[in-house]
Amino acid sequence: MARYTGQEAAREHLVDVARHVVHAVHKAPQMTGRLKLSTEIITGDDLAPIIEGLGVLAKVSQFVHWDYTTFKDYYEAGNPPVLVLIGADCTVSEMSWNCGACGFATCAEFNRYARENRGTGLIGGGPCCNWKVLDLGMACDWGCAAAWQYNVDNRIQGSSGGVAGTLGYLPGCSNVLGLPLGPSREMVWYSREIMNKKFDYQQHVNTMLASIPTHFMAFPGGGRPVFKSSDRWWEANSLITWGPNEQAEEKLYEVVMEMAELAAKHGPAIAERYKKVSNPGQNPESRIQNPE
């Protein structure tokens, strides 16, 4: 008779739940019936390059910073989440519906444009057929719901998925989303306790001041509205202003270059693994890596 601690058993169970999740993703209903999904389950040490990449993006994006810190702290505490990657190539429409949602009159025109203008944004690639994107959304939602059915805390993310895609995970997919599962505890990805004391009161207030400036605006009729950035705001006389921010642009450029270096560092090893699983009889879409 073997004995298991609850925590160990729960940690192993997350991989079982991840299997249910990828099953649900592939089983999800589709509007097009033509979306070819790829999924992968990342556990343990294999999370490290993705966490490293999140750390790079965190320098210019607050929501990535929160995801980065959550991943990193749980990982370093020896209790990491299991990450499900969900991806698909949404850049081709073979349906000939000619619906116009992409901005082109026909699917043929869109396909021609998309072939010649493939590119990547901060989260995903494109240009995309919107019905394929909608199907990918449905599949991700089924993944979330499947995890929730097993009471596993989860959150669909452009951050972890985008980094994984940049590093070369799920090759051939224009869009990759990440769905972290667990770790097993009450709240992980919502009301994140792990973020407690990471930012002080003033930093939280500063985020609000920067994110919703109109909420803190005094009488605007004068044409030069004063910004209520402190209790005695009438003395501070802070004005709302705008203009290019060269410092921010430089920072973004640095981060993009750093991400490229990271992709060069980890990319070959990741690509090598896809070569191995492409052997006959093994389907990369259904590959589940051993957590060891």
């Binding site: 999800a28 209903p29 589709q30 509007m31 097009t32 949404c90 850049t91 349906m95 000939s96 519906w97 000619n98 619906c99 116009g100 949602a101 992409c102 901005g103 082109f104 009159a105 998309a114 203008n117 493939r118 590119g119 990547t120 944004g121 901060l122 989260i123 995903g124 690639g125 494109g126 240009p127 995309c128 919107n130 019905w131 994107v133 909608l134 199907d135 990918l136 959304g137 449905m138 599949a139 991700c140 939602d141 089924w142 979330c144 719901a145 959150r155 669909i156 452009g158 224009s174 869009n175």
Partner: protein, 259 residues
């Protein structure tokens, strides 16, 4: 006390004949499920948590007939649709209800995060350059369009509509209610003005019949389906009676002569 004392009932529920009291009681159950599906859709994940999904629940013989006819009209506008849409018009007539989920932001208030999904650029230029804008604000009052949907759309918002649609369908599967998202219903519903503040609409047919009306479809389904078979039976059975007539009060033909 009166109301409590009267709290009793007896409800027969059966799908046949269509439109009968027992069938309408069954359909009321479907509506309960459909309403819960809509609530599930509204709680689905959204980029930035921003409220943007509206829903419209449509049911009733005439409403469904209007929708089916619009789908049949669209069927003849695109060779890729013809057969599929004619089949799906039948499904709309057989459904108990139709749910429309729409995204109210996708064509006007984009996520503005440079996510890259719509155009593959690390900015929102693909969306904004094709819109009539001023100060980065989209003037959506010009609703003229040569296509059924006035694109481009913010694909991050479209992705969110996918989450919502997925949640509705997930709940349907948990309630063992048959439901299916259909492109024909989506496009026709938007044309008819359902979820009219939305820039993209997803249509879901819902039913609780013995046989799931959205699967196991035979060829020429628009010609060979339950409604058509029943209609033909009503026609065929009557005609022989008019030509094999007799006075049943005085003589009824028997199997053997001696009777």
């Amino acid at each position: 006390m009166g109301k409590i004392d009267d709290f009793r009932g007896r409800e027969l529920i059966y799908e046949y004949p269509p439109g009968s009291p027992q069938d309408l009681r069954r359909r009321e159950g479907t509506l309960l499920a459909a309403r819960l599906m809509i609530n599930a859709a509204l709680t689905a994940p959204l980029a930035g948590g921003v409220c943007q999904v509206e829903a419209e629940l449509v049911y009733g013989q005439e409403e469904q007939e209007d929708l089916a006819r619009k789908i049949e009209e669209l069927a003849y506008t695109n060779r890729a649709w013809e057969e599929m849409f004619k089949y799906e018009a039948v499904m709309v007539r057989e459904s108990d209800a139709v749910i429309f989920l729409g995204n109210r932001l996708a064509g006007e208030f984009s996520l503005d995060a440079g996510c890259g999904i719509c155009g593959g650029q690390p900015n929102c230029s693909y969306f904004y350059e094709k819109k009539n804008t001023r100060h980065g604000l989209v003037d959506a009052t010009d609703r003229r369009s040569d296509t059924l949907i006035k694109g481009p759309l913010c694909s991050a918002r479209v992705n969110d509509l996918g989450y919502a649609t997925g949640s509705a369908l997930w709940l349907a599967s948990r309630l063992l209610v048959d439901a299916r998202p259909l492109i024909s219903v989506s496009l026709a519903g938007q044309q008819l003005g359902y979820c009219r503040r939305s820039y993209l609409v997803a249509g879901i047919c819902v039913a609780t019949l013995a046989k799931n009306p959205f699967v196991d479809i035979n060829p020429d389904y628009h010609l060979i389906n339950m409604a058509k078979v029943l209609e033909n039976t009503r026609k065929q059975y009557v005609t022989p009676r008019t030509v094999t007539t007799f006075e049943y009060r005085k003589w009824i033909p028997k199997k053997s002569e001696e009777e």
